[in-house]
Symmetry: D2
Subunit: 154 residues, 4 copies
């Protein structure tokens, strides 16, 4: 993880991200929690739950992607102006190992902020009973800042 070097445009970015995250019903459905919010980096925690599994008992790739997409999206959001909404243009996820573990740490980070387009990267680690961590997925996500649309805010 490289050191962060971003200046937020909106001093209230943390409160704005927390409020938006609380409105993402999908995060409550999967049980993801906000862990850390820094300028250009957001970390979530996701406990293992049977409700999130695929046929082999691992966390479904799409469920990891759901949490990673939110981590990446909010990482981008920390650097956007207060009035901007953020939409995902696209993301790609690589699954490196079966998503087995007690819980998962998901980190999204801005690679390149932009007025319209922001590029981010995410990583997911599985955490075992001894606290050992294993990288299980990587993501690259492209975001778009949207302004002036009432139904797409934060």
């Amino acid at each position: 993880m490289e050191p962060l070097r971003f200046e937020p445009k909106d001093p209230h970015f943390e409160a704005r991200v927390r409020a938006s995250f609380a409105r993402q019903a999908a995060m409550a459905t999967i049980g993801a929690q906000l862990h850390a919010i820094e300028p250009g980096r957001v970390t979530l925690l996701l406990p293992y739950a049977t409700a999130l599994t695929q046929q082999h008992g691992f966390i479904h790739a799409g469920m990891l992607a759901t949490a990673l997409d939110s981590a990446c999206g909010y990482a981008g959001s920390t650097l956007m102006p207060a009035e901007a909404g953020v939409l995902t243009i696209e993301f790609k996820i690589n699954l490196l190992a079966p998503a087995q573990g007690l819980r998962f740490r998901l980190c999204g980070e801005v690679v390149k902020p932009g007025r319209t387009v922001t590029v981010t990267e995410g990583r997911a680690w599985a955490i075992d009973a001894q606290g050992g961590e294993k990288l299980v997925a990587t993501m690259g996500a492209t975001l778009m800042a949207v302004t002036g649309r009432d139904n797409i805010l934060h």
Copy 2:
């Protein structure tokens, strides 16, 4: 949608896919249902649900990705031998429009089957109250057939 031209190796592919889908707890969690299973193509239906939304009330990109990844994975699985398990190596999803609608149709299709690596594509359409359809997402997913591992079967 191009015509299909694949011969399944396992005549019981449909029963095998149905049984595996029934074991994906994530599909029950999001409310996705199997709609059609053909050699090289699988279609799911996903009703809109508040539990799946992001902060603007659209279906979360990751939730669409979860359903599309299963559609693509099972499309690949229809062409694999009976003893193979299928894992997603990676997928990329493009979000074309906000995922608003009464329900969603998700179609995964094999582009290139392979002994080890299978390449698939997926499309998601939003369906409105009048039955009108709108393409809201496209996916490209790469799958790996896994054999000889007891914990990764079907």
Copy 3:
């Protein structure tokens, strides 16, 4: 290949694409030629050349990607206003089979045009001495229309 259903905003899209393609020195370097320009679809031809190969004598994945990226970019450009320049935000390419053949047909197609962001897909076929075609690569590319920057025009 699905039927096209796009209306160009600029009636002179074909001349505009031809002029821009002629300014892409990279196309001359790899030997790619414009084959067909329709609203939302552009096809290139690329003869096999040793200068484009990787270590096994197949066309280098990046060289196929170069031609496919241009096909996709110009497919998007056909639907943009006359004054817009087009930049690639990102693309993903899947290599389905070794790129062997006498020449290659590369087709880029618009999936979803947009004022700012346009989503396209590309396919590359290898053509053998008998005229037989084999799909060797698929691409998904996201484009951005740029206006008001003098150094990014068409």
Copy 4:
């Protein structure tokens, strides 16, 4: 850039990579040179050349992708057994800024080595006349190790 932590299986990985790179005619065509070979990381240098440009005079995204794909592929190759050939399954590239500069540094790095599938990441920096560096592209590439095929070696 994170510290490397990989043990090569083949002590002669550097000579093997150099010999294979020398057989990639595409690298000579674009003017890319090997700069550094470490276990799990390969760096190339690419001088700016008009022959590689798109219509605005920037390096064509596909040409950057060609160099990055080789950097990623050889990064993976450093960790493979001597008898394995390496093929790219897929890659995605994000273009962060116009590729302008005197020359470019392209670095490929292994994220997760595997017996069959290896996941890598690449970054491209533009270098200006004062030696200043700017990140212009990121790549995620998935590789497959191929053994037992005479025409796909190293």
